[in-house]
Amino acid sequence: NDSATTEEASGDGKTEVIFWHSMSGELERVVQEVADGFNAEQDEITVTPVFQGTYEEAITKFNTVAGTEDAPAIMQTFEVGTKYMIDSGKIQPVQKFIDDEGYDMNQWEKNITNYYAVDDTQYSMPFNSSTPVLIYNKDAFKEAGLDPEKAPETYSELKEAAKKLTNDDQVGFSILNYGWFIEELIAVQGGLFVDNDNGRTGNAEKAVFNGEEGLKVFELISEMHKEGTFYNTGQNWDDIRAAFQSGKIAMYLDSSAGIRATVDNAPFEVGAGYLPVPDGVDRQGVIIGGASLWMAKDIDEEKQRAAWEFMKYVTTPEVQAQWHLKSGYFSINPAAYDLPLVQEEWEKYPQLKVTVDQLKNTIPSEATQGALISVFPEARQKVVSAMESLYQGVEPKEALERAAAEIDQSLEAANRKNGSQ
């Protein structure tokens, strides 16, 4: 019995904090290290990280145990699940502890915490955060006669570069068929995804990404694809990376968290740049992606406190520096970047700094705060479908409108259900 084991573990008088996460691979070890570090530092609390599968799998499980003894104290959930978690009524906003303790939240990176704050309430604690960046093959740039130190910044530069980079064996550019990138490409122009200020001043009722900004993004993809300078790599992260590493594509958008491995694995020099914007548009910055840590509601107050202690520990600059270096995710606490440890690493991987700069330069707004949608996963699927239809020759406008209409429907259905609750 699960609760039994919990009791047992806390038999030595320590409060046990179960921490469900979805960090697999190398990341799991880093999470474990962080927990170990915390456990070693004090002797009141033990944090036990437990891998619970993908975010979707974990959330399903959380959903079934929330409110019972089997619920974990800390639950990691991806950014699109934010609204779901808020609405579920089964979590305790961390704002409570911030207020209780008068914790200074300003040490946290505003551009990150913003995403998880609604109506000035901080709901969860950002944990692993990333943003999209443009990754490119410097060797290929050289070969094509482009400046390898200067990444394309506008659509026309991008197109230009892609054209030059495209030959029999290589295609200039690619974006993973993943809704996140579209959201980012719209946000960087200052565009919104849904109405009611990206769902942050009220439940989103309509999709608005089919506006001018979205159209520009779709047109870019469509045009480039028609020209043959855009390569469709599907929905798999590994596929697009394989395409890049094997020299099939010369530029693509990747998550900031994946950069280091890409640099390590590529048999050529890798460059990183900001997300490109349409010509004549001011860069607004990027939305944070990744996941955050939530606290369960119906558990012992003591456990909640313990969980909060852990969260605070996680955000200390030292821990964040480790985290940033080992995982590739951003540090929530910008102070971490000033540590010599990080600076050294940045020497080695200048690409990392690019990502951090891009985030720092982000102008806080509803657009870059990111959308809050109850049907976010579904919306992303629709956007992916729309992207895919572009490759089949569907007009960008039509594809966008169709996706928007479908998302409207889902929004309406969701709101109706919420209303009847």
Binding site: E56, E57, T60, N63, Y84, D87, S88, N177, N232, T233, G234, Q235, N236, D238, D239, A242, A243, S246, K248, I249, S374, V375, P377, E378, Q381, V384, S385, E388, S389, Y391, Q392, S410, A414, K417, N418, S420, Q421
Partner: protein, 308 residues
């Protein structure tokens, strides 16, 4: 002769009843353990699913209010469900006949009396040892447009690159091929077992008659194998309707929903989009659909099957 049947011993009915119920009881006893587990772990959830399919649910799957047939009517009128249904049927159509025929061919091949045949049997059945997840990852690499072996082979033979999983026209087929590969091992093993169970005397008889091997295949092997074939067909069909893992890993239902088979759609609705009501309705529809097909298969098929 009905008139004679009237002439029954007066003590017989009671006797018969007694014996009948006793024998019945024995039969039930054998079935009971399975039956109880089925009730707890399959029928009860299924009933719940059916129940939920008539409700609007919140994102956590709690019924909110009675929806009547609405979940169903919405589904049946939505194009995406129809696409899913079509994809499902196509998928079954691609995988079942080809898969069974392929496995049968391999089984026939491996049924020869040759030196070292055991090695080949092991090879042929080896795909059975691969989990769907592991196999799918391998196939993901094989199909990868930039590094995959599939395109390398195509190029080798002078064909242009293909975007197996990225082109809505080929994605389903590509997943089907991977699925066939995954299923072949087990189907092969079952069919081989069936083949080896056929009495060799029958073949001896045929060999003496001098009929061609294709004739004895049609007239002896197939009919004698029919119980096994029937089983394999039924099971692969049902399994094919339920394929999930490979789609999740290879295509996630895309591109443009072309591989969004119903089970995957159920999964998405239930675990990603939190539309439990709709997911339940789809599950019910899928269940009914497979059930009807299976009943038909039993009604038509079992008649043609020759048991000993």
């Amino acid at each position: 002769m009905p008139s004679l049947n009237m002439n029954v011993d007066p003590k017989r009915p009671s006797l018969r009843k007694n014996r009948f119920s006793l024998a019945s009881l024995e039969g039930w006893l054998y079935v009971l353990p399975s039956f109880i587990l089925f009730i707890i772990f399959l029928f009860y959830p299924m009933v719940r699913t059916v129940y939920l399919s008539f409700f609007y649910t919140d994102t956590q799957g709690k019924p909110l209010s009675f929806a009547g047939w609405e979940n169903f009517t919405t589904l049946l009128s939505s194009t995406s469900f129809l696409t899913s249904a079509k994809a499902t049927f196509l998928f079954v159509l691609y995988t079942v006949p080809v898969g069974v025929i392929l496995a049968l061919a391999l089984a026939l091949l491996a049924n020869q009396k040759l030196k070292g045949i055991g090695f080949f049997r092991t090879i042929f059945s080896s795909t059975m040892g691969m989990s769907v997840a592991a196999s799918s990852v391998i196939w993901m690499f094989i199909y990868n447009p930039s590094i995959g072996i599939a395109n390398k082979i195509l190029n080798f033979f002078g064909f242009a690159d293909m975007h197996f999983l990225l082109d809505p026209n080929t994605a389903l087929l590509s997943v089907a091929i991977a699925t066939i590969w995954m299923n072949t091992g087990f189907t092969f093993l079952i069919l081989l077992g069936g083949l080896q169970n056929i009495d060799s005397q029958l073949y001896e008889s045929a060999r003496i008659a001098g009929v061609s091997s294709s004739y004895s295949f049609r007239k002896i092997t197939l009919p004698m194998l029919s119980p096994t074939l029937f089983f394999v067909l039924t099971v692969t069909m049902i399994n094919s309707f339920q394929s999930f893992g490979q789609i999740d890993i290879l295509t996630k239902g895309g591109p443009i929903d072309s591989t969004n088979v119903i089970v995957y759609s159920i999964y998405k609705d239930a675990f990603i989009n939190y539309n439990i009501g709709s997911a339940s309705a789809q599950a019910v529809l899928l269940f009914l659909c497979v059930f009807i097909l299976t009943v038909i298969q039993f009604k038509l098929g079992e008649r043609k099957v020759h048991y000993q």
